[in-house]
């Protein structure tokens, strides 16, 4: 099943990604694509396939946020993606996480169609597309039509805070390392209320595993929230469907009743005919 595609590649992958399983060969193409400059070419459409968007920590199945939503919106179980299992919250920060979980129906920015932030956008249950040239990398996320420009070899600090942060990237061997700062502190990390503050620094690492797989890691440092830096790890899978294009997911209309319903004219209701547009 597993072939040895390239000894040097395996060595690099083993050093950078000791915890990753070696990749399965897909047919005869076992090399990860490379740019003319020799770097791994991350271009393509990718998606995480796990339950990290529900909860980064290990979790048993759970009730849907509204009981009437039933089984199809229940929380599926997952082993978690955090090194060591638990996020090392400071005690008061853990209490804040629990408060956010309790209020997730109203407070989770995902429900309001707000930009997902980093790293959350990576493992939301939607595809995203990486565009790469010799100088820069751009990521387009289907959810909330978010974009991020990664400044390769960029060193400028964030000019302003933002939802998706400010991304300076560099290549370390075959790994793209992205340091993300300049957050606004309004994003969450998952649907379970896990969070970081505006002062967080997220260091992402994208490493080829095989032609259609990337290893994704993100280390989150935020001394006001955690007792130490912590890391999540997961593979990302290439969408291989022929001619696949991201479809537009403008989620604003679906969040309007949630966000503005309290301002609706008294005695009126959401117009049902709008649902069928």
């Amino acid at each position: 099943m597993t072939r040895i595609p390239n000894t040097a590649f395996i060595l690099i992958a083993a050093v950078i990604c000791g915890a990753c399983a070696s990749d399965e060969a897909d047919g005869d193409t076992v090399e990860f694509p490379r740019t003319a400059g020799g770097q791994p070419d991350l271009s393509g459409v990718w998606q995480a396939v796990n339950t990290a968007h529900w909860n980064l920590e290990p979790h048993v199945p759970g009730y849907p946020v509204l009981l009437e939503l039933g089984a199809q919106f229940a929380v599926p179980p997952g082993p978690g993606v955090v090194d060591g299992g638990e996020i090392p919250y400071l005690p008061e920060a853990r209490a804040e996480r629990d408060r956010r979980f309790a209020n997730r129906l109203t407070d989770d920015p995902e429900g309001k169609c707000y930009l997902g932030g980093v790293p959350r956008s990576t493992y939301m249950p939607y595809p995203f597309q990486i565009l790469q040239n010799a100088d820069d990398i751009l990521i387009v996320y289907q959810f909330a039509t978010g974009t991020r420009r990664l400044f390769v070899d960029g060193a400028e600090p964030a000019p302003l805070d933002s939802w998706m942060g400010w991304s300076n990237a560099r290549w370390e061997g075959d790994t793209l390392v992205v340091e993300v700062t300049g957050f606004n502190g309004q994003t969450w990390l998952d649907r379970a209320g896990n969070y970081a503050s505006a002062g967080a620094k997220v260091t992402e690492r994208y490493t080829p595993l095989g032609p259609d797989h990337l290893q994704y890691e993100a280390t989150i440092e935020d001394a006001s929230v955690y007792s130490r830096p912590w890391t999540i790890r997961m593979p990302l899978y290439r969408i291989v469907d022929e001619g696949f294009q991201l479809l537009e997911f403008k989620c604003e209309p679906f969040a309007e009743e949630k966000v503005y319903g309290h301002l609706r004219k008294p005695g009126t209701e959401f117009p049902e005919e709008v649902r069928s547009q």
Binding site: L131, N133, K265
Partner: protein
């Protein structure tokens, strides 16, 4: 880093060359095939950058110009003088902070940077160049019927909730970001990002269009989308983008879901692309129409806009209407 304020000093020289450039991208001329411009590392024409899409020409040609496409030297000098004066005024800060007079869009004060509002010289009398009179063709009679039906559907409910407010108030689409892209009142900027096989175009306030340039045709049976579906191809130095498959509700200038947009991006100098567009919609106009205007490269990056995340406007519109209703009820 292409330029900053040096643009102001260079503009006099630019006046001299603009006449020569002005005839380059007239519609419906065939695509230019100079094959001479800068190239990306993988050989495509290089049109990447962040561009301001402001221009001095009005969308439709003032009637006094008739079928004349270009300003005379005298008229152009006057337009240029106004353009440069307006730019300088943008950076004056002679009002006192904290006073009512200080509440205005002073670009410097709002830290919008020296690039906001830049525009390349434009000798044209209008953006619209097709038809020859520079005027948008009259809409077909059925357009008025469509509008009336749409208005009847929501009449009296426009302020009940957010769903019948305008698409821009709802952070869904803008005329400055949709294809075709037109100059807008503010944040009228776009990024063009290139990678092998793709061009990504995003207006500052709008959504990214990831456009394959591998020569594929627009699929049939497109799923309707707010921004349509786009495919591109290179014709010489020109990027040609075809877009169709709009949602009925997008209704760009009251168009139907049959709207088909062709856009052409052509580099004309170091800092300038010509942006040309043609629209066809047999259910809205009896004939195609289109236009062209220059977009101007800036040294800025396109910063995150995050419209819906900060849409206090919608909350204020609705709560204002609720307050008006309460006042009206109390007054009876």
């Amino acid at each position: 880093m292409k330029h900053s304020m040096t643009r102001l000093n260079r503009s006099i020289l630019a006046v001299a060359v603009a006449g020569a450039l002005a005839s380059v991208a007239a519609l419906p001329a065939a695509a230019q095939s100079s094959d001479s411009g800068p190239r990306t590392a993988w050989g495509d024409p290089d049109i990447a950058g962040v561009y301001a899409q402001y221009t001095t020409a009005p969308l439709e040609r003032p009637e006094q110009f008739g079928e004349r496409e270009f300003l005379t030297d005298e008229e152009f000098a006057e337009v240029e003088n106004r353009r440069l004066t307006a730019r300088e005024l943008n950076f004056e800060s002679d009002t006192e902070p904290g006073t009512a007079a200080d509440v205005h869009y002073n670009l410097d004060q709002f830290a919008l940077g020296a690039n906001e509002g830049v525009s390349s010289p434009n000798r044209r009398t209008s953006i619209v160049t097709l038809p020859a009179n520079g005027r948008i063709p009259a809409a077909l009679p059925q357009v008025a019927e469509r509008r009336t039906a749409n208005q009847a559907r929501t009449r009296g409910r426009e302020y009940d909730g957010p769903e019948f407010r305008s698409l821009t108030e709802r952070c869904i689409v803008w005329s400055s970001t949709l294809p075709p892209i037109l100059p807008g009142g503010y944040n009228s900027n776009m990024q063009i990002f290139q990678s092998p096989g793709y061009v990504m175009i995003q207006g500052e306030m709008g959504d990214p269009r990831v456009i394959p340039t591998d020569g594929r045709a627009l699929p049939e049976n497109l799923l309707p989308q707010w921004n349509g579906t786009s495919v591109g191809r290179w014709e010489g130095d020109t990027l040609v983008v075809e877009t169709a498959g709009f949602r009925r509700e997008t209704a760009w200038r009251n168009s139907s879901e049959k709207l088909h947009v062709t856009e052409k991006f052509t580099r004309v100098d170091e800092d300038t692309l010509d942006y040309a567009f043609t629209v066809v919609d047999p259910e809205t106009w009896a004939e195609p129409w289109g236009g062209v205007y220059p977009i101007t490269e800036m040294e800025n990056v396109l910063f995150e806009y995050a419209c819906t995340e900060g849409n206090y406007g919608m909350a204020n519109i609705l709560s204002g209407e609720r307050a008006r209703e309460r006042e009206a009820a109390a007054g009876q």
